[in-house]
């Protein structure tokens, strides 16, 4: 199987991977997650068996790095035991559309699903693949996110 040169993947997906991370972990932490994502991807790349959906693959790596990051941060920040999916406090700087402050306050699964849907423009099948859920659960996460945003944003 012929994998494309890694640089081609980086050129094609770097921008969306970065935007996905800004949406899920915030601009301040996105840079670290971005470097970790691509280094982990580079490490695993030669062993990759399936080159048919590299976009979903790299976003899966990014998603895992974002989860690790949020976990590490909540361990550091709070004495409360095990809060793996604590929402990151909304700290978006000026210039980022206000709607993202609401996205950042969503529960982690909804936040990730809606970011994959709107930032990376993934189909539900690929959101499911990235998050390791069923397609039905992916739909539900997006749906729940939109429902919650509708009530908060319209307030």
């Amino acid at each position: 199987m012929d994998l494309p040169p890694f640089q081609a993947l980086l050129d094609a997906e770097g921008r969306d991977v970065h935007r996905f991370l800004v949406a899920t972990v915030g601009r301040g932490d996105a840079e670290d997650c971005y470097q970790e994502t691509w280094l982990a991807a580079l490490r695993a790349y030669p062993r990759l068996r399936d080159a048919s959906n590299l976009r979903a693959w790299i976003l899966t790596v990014a998603h895992r790095k974002a989860i690790d990051h949020v976990r590490a941060r909540s361990r550091r920040a709070t004495p409360v035991a095990d809060v793996p999916e604590a929402p990151v406090p909304p700290t978006l700087p000026d210039g980022v559309p206000e709607i993202w402050t609401h996205v950042r306050a969503l529960p982690a699964k909804q936040r990730t699903a809606i970011a994959l849907r709107t930032v990376a423009d993934l189909a539900y099948a690929d959101i499911a693949r990235v998050m390791g859920t069923s397609e039905e659960a992916a739909r539900r996460n997006v749906h729940e996110a939109l429902k919650r945003l509708r009530t908060e944003y319209d307030r």
């Binding site: 994998l3 890694f6 470097q35 790349y45 559309p97 709607i99 809606i114 930032v119």
Partner: protein
């Protein structure tokens, strides 16, 4: 279920970080031995080159006449060496310096290490014997074939030189037709003549 809120999100997504993504920390990647093929573009008097190196040495030089040619070279490296191909210009500093010196007329011999892995069999022998042709002099297809142990293999020699993965460094431009006709060149005969002229050879 596209509604106002989803549209707003998509619009917001497009303006999310206006800035381009950060550069990959290739120094960290190189330190962890995660770059199998590092490459750089390098401008020279005969056009832009793509230079690529492995841990063993310089593995590929190609004329980058357009983005398609660059992509083809990178795809060849991904197939022939490893898919871990990354732009990491600092890893090519030595090659770039030696090439600059060569084009300035200040270097007659390349000293950088070469990785021969994109060459094989008879072709490799042809290229190795070509690498011994001194600066400023020329040889013929028949002569390099004879040097490689196959006096009648001048046609095969022409093919091997035509697919030289390391032009300029392995000076296939110094191989002419018997009788002094210029013969072909990977980068076009204009470049062949330009390289010979730099070396002070008069056709």
């Amino acid at each position: 279920m596209t509604d106002a809120i989803e549209r707003a999100l998509r619009e917001a997504a497009h303006s999310l970080p206006a800035d381009p993504p950060p550069d990959l920390d290739t120094e960290a990647a190189a330190a962890a031995s995660l770059i199998d093929v590092a490459y750089a573009r390098h401008d020279t008097p005969v056009g832009t080159l793509v230079l690529a190196a492995t841990a063993r040495g310089l593995v590929r030089v190609s004329y980058a006449d357009d983005e398609g040619a660059v992509a083809a070279t990178l795809a060849q490296l991904a197939r022939g060496v490893s898919p871990r191909v990354l732009a990491a210009p600092r890893r090519l500093d030595e090659a770039r310096r030696e090439l600059d010196e060569y084009f300035a007329g200040a270097r007659r011999r390349f000293e950088l290490r070469v990785d021969w892995r994109l060459t094989h069999g008879f072709g490799r022998r042809i290229l190795r014997s070509t690498a011994r042709i001194p600066y400023g002099s020329v040889s013929t297809y028949a002569q390099v074939a004879a040097e490689a142990g196959s006096p009648r293999g001048f046609r095969a020699a022409g093919n091997a030189l035509g697919s030289n993965p390391l032009p300029i460094i392995v000076p296939c431009h110094r191989v002419l037709r018997a009788g002094g006709a210029l013969g072909g060149y990977t980068g076009g005969t204009g470049r062949k003549l330009a390289l010979l002229t730099i070396e002070g050879f008069e056709a």
